[in-house]
């Protein structure tokens, strides 16, 4: 009697198994580790009457008590949102709050949300409902609320939408409530800027290289200004002029009424930083490391100053100087009158992306590598510096003598095991203040 030991047809020798596993791991690495650069968002903190609204992590919005910094709520975690609507992927624009305390916010996942924080205390069972409405594409700019007409304006993908805010609020209670949405306008390229409402006109800049003025009620195009190359930054309205920088390396000043170009100023590279208007001049930076001061009426250059790397952050004007940072991590103070360098602080703490602020007699600046520094504006002496170990890419916001910050996440301070989320820094002392109940 012979017993034939039969090998299963699909049995694998070790070498072949290792090969399959190797291929699997390689493919997983390729698809995961070397994937595309994902969205995170850079919404700056927002101060309301008694709360601070901060995007404390990817696709997350926290509210802190403005006095105690106690975490009050977290969106979307504490709300009832199911399916894709519950998965936020990056908040770029600041949230807005209406008179009734309803918060509106848009996310990169293409949803617009409305929720009422007061519902948290009212709800006795489960999580309170939130309203969501899916627009066609990603939302990168913020939302603009016109309470007079009860309309929420949102740009998603290349379209500009008008959403009836009351309908969205009604959907909080009744998820089947219909929401009146009108696609006001479709641009030729994506819109990365927040819609700006001025004199009944909605102003949107688009990556198709055009600045559009759209009637806020009818959605009809009032005028279109063509810059030729992409416009990524949110326009600034000053007087009767709309200012917007573009990838054509120019700052364009466009008449708000007619859409005619009042003037354009040629920089040497992309202009993505939002211009800062102070007095008779506008200040802005470019991606060749230049800061320009341009006359608002004529568009003539008053002066220019060359930094060592890209200037993306919005300049900040205080007193007789303008302050700005570059991607090499240098902070500059330049005289408004002459454009001469007052001082330069080589911080060496990573790129400066957000706008600096001055309060309590200290320039506060944040870096991508997670450093916060307080610099004496007259002597450039470093008053203090703090390492957060979390990226700081959003603009800083002054709130009295405190500076509100929005780090990319919670950190574990040296010598401790507890995770904290820093929400502000005292400008005078550099003392960090953490929020409780966030991490």
């Amino acid at each position: 009697m012979f017993h034939v030991k039969q090998r299963p047809v699909l049995s694998l020798p070790k070498g072949r198994l290792a090969l399959i596993l190797g291929v699997f791991v390689l493919a997983a690495l390729l698809s995961g580790c070397a994937g595309t650069v994902g969205s995170r968002g850079w919404a700056p903190p927002v101060r309301t009457d008694d709360e601070l609204l901060v995007s404390t992590g990817k696709g997350r919005l926290d509210s802190l008590d403005a006095d105690t910094y106690e975490g009050l709520w977290r969106f979307p975690n504490q709300w009832d949102l199911s399916g894709a609507a519950g998965r936020l992927s990056g908040i770029y624009g600041p949230p807005v709050v209406n008179a009734d305390g309803v918060v509106f916010v848009g996310d990169y996942n293409g949803y617009v949300y409305a929720f009422r924080p007061a519902d948290l205390s009212r709800t006795t069972e489960g999580e309170p409902p939130a309203a969501s409405f899916k627009l066609s594409e990603k939302i990168i700019g913020g939302v603009a609320l016109d309470e007079a007409s009860d309309t929420l304006f949102v740009a998603a993908g290349s379209s500009l939408y008008a959403i009836r805010a009351d309908d969205l609020v009604a959907r909080i209670r009744d998820e089947k409530a219909s929401v009146t949405v009108a696609r006001l306008f479709k641009a030729g390229g994506e819109i990365w800027s927040t819609p700006v409402l001025a004199s009944g006109k909605l102003l949107v800049s688009s990556l198709d290289g055009n600045l559009y003025a759209v009637d806020a009620r009818s959605g009809s195009q009032l005028w279109r200004f063509s810059a030729g190359k992409s416009l990524a930054s949110t326009p600034v309205v000053s007087g009767g002029v709309v200012l917007v920088g573009g990838f054509d390396g120019r700052l364009h000043a466009v008449d708000l009424d007619s859409g005619d170009e009042a003037w354009s100023f040629t920089a040497s590279n992309w202009v993505w930083s939002r211009p800062y208007v102070a007095g008779e001049r506008v200040y802005f930076g470019d991606f060749d490391g230049n800061l320009y001061a341009v006359d608002l009426d004529s568009g003539d250059e008053a002066w220019s100053f060359t930094a060592s790397n890209w200037v993306w952050s919005r300049p900040y004007v205080a007193g007789e100087r303008v302050y700005f940072g570059d991607f090499d991590g240098n902070l500059y103070a330049v005289e408004l009158s002459s454009g001469t360098l007052a001082w330069k602080a080589s911080l060496g703490r990573g790129a400066i992306r957000g706008s600096p602020v001055i309060t309590a007699g200290v320039v506060v600046v944040a870096t991508e590598e997670g450093w916060l520094l307080g610099i004496d504006p007259s002597s450039q002496a470093k008053r203090w510096e703090k390492e957060l170990d979390a990226s700081l890419n959003g603009d800083l916001v002054a709130d009295g003598e405190t500076v509100l910050i929005a780090p990319s996440g919670c950190v574990t301070p040296a010598g401790t095991e507890e995770k904290v989320y820093y929400a502000s820094v005292d400008a005078a002392t550099g003392e960090l203040r953490s929020a409780s109940g966030v991490c």
Binding site: I20, V23, A27, G35, V37, S39, K229, F247
Partner: protein
């Protein structure tokens, strides 16, 4: 590690990103640029690919002779000498094969990394790409890249067609490289690999930006062309492709293999013949070596 990262970024990824942006600007389409850059890089690395394929094929051809040597020579040193001699006579250079792989792998990985960076559609991705651009205004002005190609937006996943095409091209390129199995076990293993791997790659591309899927498809097609060129053209066995025949998809591959086997069949035989004629000294020598080896081991133990 920082130095390696610096070299990898400065000499591979940065030039490739700039090349990709330049071709996108020239063609006005990122999809066409993916095609052009992939084809160019594949052409540039083709000699290396050929060399690697040749070495692999020759390795397979000398495998039977290698088994003979293993059986014949029990002394490890002598066996190793004979094996190296056989490799040398067959023109197999491990150094060459290894250096081909060593050169190709970083280039292909950098190419993948380039596309994964360049087709990203977030503002963060745009900044990351811009940081790598050389100071040539032509490149900067062409950003952000136009990402629409055919029915695809290269920065977004296409969960339907791209995974199917990735799986199909992986399957075909694998089948073209597959030789008839020598036994049932090998047949089962090869059959499973030919199905599993395409499915796996297809599955991975479901959630990846379609630009990367496009690159995988093009790489698969390039592999097919290289495979076809390597065997010197000839007919294409469609029945074998869909599993209706046990013959290879490229019948010419069999001729190439036979020629290679024929070439290596007589390698090292002359010495064996000579050794057969004088078996005594060989046996003595082997025995002496074995004793020396054994006594060495004993000495080592002490």
């Amino acid at each position: 590690m920082d130095l390696i990262g610096y070299i990898f970024n400065t000499f591979l990824i940065d030039p490739l990103v700039n090349l990709f942006v330049m071709f996108t600007a020239l063609t006005g389409n990122a999809g066409l640029a993916v095609i052009v850059v992939t084809v160019l890089i594949r052409l540039a690395t083709m000699p290396l690919t050929f060399r690697q394929m040749h070495t692999q094929r020759m390795m397979a051809a000398v495998a039977p002779r290698m088994q003979e040597i293993q059986k014949r020579y029990k002394d490890p040193r002598r066996r190793s000498e004979e094996q190296m001699k056989l490799y040398r006579e067959a023109g197999i250079s491990f150094q060459g094969c290894f250096s081909s792989m060593l050169l190709q792998m970083p280039i292909l990985f950098a190419l993948y990394r380039t596309f994964s960076l360049a087709v990203g559609e977030t503002p963060e991705a745009l900044i990351k790409v811009s940081e790598r651009l050389y100071s040539w205004s032509y490149l900067r002005e062409s950003m952000p890249l136009p990402a629409d190609f055919l029915w695809l937006h290269l920065g977004r996943p296409d969960p339907l067609f791209i995974p199917v095409l990735v799986a199909a091209t992986t399957y075909v390129s694998q089948k073209m490289a597959t030789m008839p199995p020598v036994d049932e076990r090998q047949r089962a293993q090869t059959g499973m690999m030919n199905v599993l791997m395409p499915l796996m790659f297809g599955w991975f591309t479901i959630n990846l930006p379609s630009g990367l899927g496009l690159y995988w498809i093009l790489s698969g097609i390039a592999q097919m062309v290289i495979q076809y060129a390597y065997v010197g053209g000839g007919p294409f066995n469609w029945r074998a492709l869909v599993g209706l025949s046990q013959e290879p998809v490229l019948p010419r591959a069999m001729e190439v293999r036979q020629a290679q086997q024929e070439k290596v069949k007589h390698l090292g035989r002359a010495e064996e013949e000579a050794a057969r004629e004088e078996p005594q000294p060989q046996a003595k020598e082997t025995g002496r070596r074995r004793r020396r080896y054994a006594s060495g081991r004993r000495r080592g133990r002490r």
